[in-house]
Chain length 328, copies 2
């Protein structure tokens, strides 16, 4: 399988992208096309020993920066590492594309270059949301701040296929993030979406309150992208704050320091389990091709995991499965 990676995208590129690509080649047996400045990438590659025919540099001269205006950047920087990488999937030269670059630009680029799957009005980001029993799929994680009920139904369909075929959950539970459990609760959007989800063939289990999200009561959390962003970022913020507080309290005295030292490995484990950045990237579902958004702060290992994820979505032919689900 051939995967494409935006070689210049991410806070630690190209070190992270080159390292991640080479690790993926070794571990997954894939071939990688890496986009970016040939000189820069070659220099980075020289530090490693690797199978030369398993990685190819696709030279390009531009780079989309994090503060570039997304749509403008994608339209104007045609020879950027991100746009060129997206085109590799569009042209059928690669089966999936991974980028840790500017999120807005990547979503805009995904829409413009790959296009939407027929029947999907709004492609959506689907990160995992770690919880007490494992992880749920959260969709939309922030691509669409303004949604209609029909979009939420489509998110449910895509999230269900993700949970089933990638996470291996047989009959995934689909829930609507809402302000109360009973039918009839919520705003106009969630009330209308409830009706559509209930009528669908999905395993819709009704509304889920925000309080229950970290409990892991569902497999797929459906919400608009505004709410999804609030859920992801707030969870992250509360976790960080609790751990800061624990650190502060636990270093109060000699005795608490010793006690904290004993518990440190356990604390670290909790922190890691709940760090959604540990769970690889987020697929941008609903576009005509496999597109994985890796975190901006990805290191080599995170890039390798995102490539593994891209391979998984391509192996499972998720794009075709979404298409088929919408026809039926």
């Amino acid at each position: 399988m051939i995967l494409a990676i935006d070689g210049m995208g991410g806070d630690h590129a190209p070190q992270s992208t080159v390292k991640g690509a080479l690790e993926a080649i070794k571990e997954l047996g894939v071939t990688v096309l890496i986009t970016g400045d040939r000189e820069v990438l070659s220099k980075e590659l020289m530090q490693y020993e690797y199978e030369k025919d398993k990685i190819e540099i696709i030279h390009c001269t531009e780079k989309i920066e994090n503060d570039d205006a997304p749509v403008k950047a994608v339209r104007r920087k045609k020879d950027s590492s991100m746009v060129v990488a997206l085109n590799l999937v569009k042209e059928g030269r690669a089966e999936a594309v991974i980028s840790a670059g500017n999120t807005g630009a990547l979503l805009a680029g995904g829409l413009f270059i790959l296009g939407r799957i027929k029947g999907i009005d709004r492609p959506a980001l689907a990160p995992v949301f770690p919880h007490q029993q494992g992880a749920s799929v959260l969709i939309d994680g922030g691509a669409n701040t303004e949604c209609k009920a029909a979009h939420l139904l489509q998110f449910g369909i895509m999230g269900s296929l993700y949970a089933k075929h990638i996470l291996g959950i047989e009959n995934p539970k689909i829930s609507l993030a809402n302000v109360g459990e009973e039918k009839g609760k919520g705003n106009e959007l969630t009330k209308a979406a409830y009706e559509l989800l209930e009528e669908s063939s999905l395993n819709f289990t009704g509304n889920i309150e925000a309080r229950d999200l970290p409990r892991g009561k569902t497999d797929v959390i459906v919400c608009d992208g505004f709410t999804g962003n609030i859920i992801l970022k707030l969870t992250e913020g509360v976790f960080m704050t609790v751990f800061d507080l624990l650190k502060e309290k636990f270093t109060k005295s000699f005795l608490t320091k010793i006690a904290a030292g004993i518990l440190k490995p356990e604390l670290r484990k909790i922190k890691k389990d709940y760090d959604y950045t540990e769970h690889g990237g987020a697929p941008f579902l609903g576009v005509q091709g496999v597109l994985i958004k890796a975190h901006g702060s990805s290191d080599g290992k995170a890039i390798k995991n995102a490539l593994r994820q891209g391979k998984g979505f391509a192996d499972e032919k998720i794009v075709e499965k979404i298409e088929a689900a919408l026809i039926n």
Copy 2:
């Protein structure tokens, strides 16, 4: 000062309401009108020694249950402890009313019986949101799931007066809960609300991302009631989950149990600081009168704190201040 309390409202009423009322009388020097069945309340009162002329039972025969449909309950149960308590403020017999009963019914009752302040389209719940440095006011905490930009501006005005006059913050920072910090981020509602808040005379500090809410970067968090509910409930859920996980990990071995025992008081303190139910009730701002929603699970102490809060809002004449702010 005379305060009214819905004597039958709440999971632990009338034990909690009677106990709370008597403690408030002792500590705050107020007089309390308590609504409910005379026989039930008298029997409860008999357990205590108290100044007889400081508490008066306002007899009524009905009670709004937690599963009653809010609007219907308020309209039909005219002789319920909640409706009668609201009428005490409406008629000028009490300066504030407290209830731990059915939230939806209380908000509906507040609107119908007390009415709105001129210039306020949507009264809003304003609970405190505990954070690393203290607490912010969050408005709307869940009264209005569907909002317009003008409503969010009104929330900002009311929240600012709350923070200034009740929490004693000189020039409170007002922020808009949003998916990005920059102007122009968000959904249609937050984009439009940003413009209005920016043009207002409030100390508007721009958007705040959910990640930063637990850090305490602002004094007043403005959002629609759907988002506010998600923020409050998710924060609660993540906290509960982290503490469950800590408990689980800390009881793994003899050694971790000993270490955890040493840290237990510190853990308990963090948990308490962040439990928003510890911070008294939430005022329903924008109605013509002081109305405090106490938590359904309130015990006597929580009821006393809600009465103290009601007294504070009445002392500071918040209703009049909101009226004046809207005229200017």
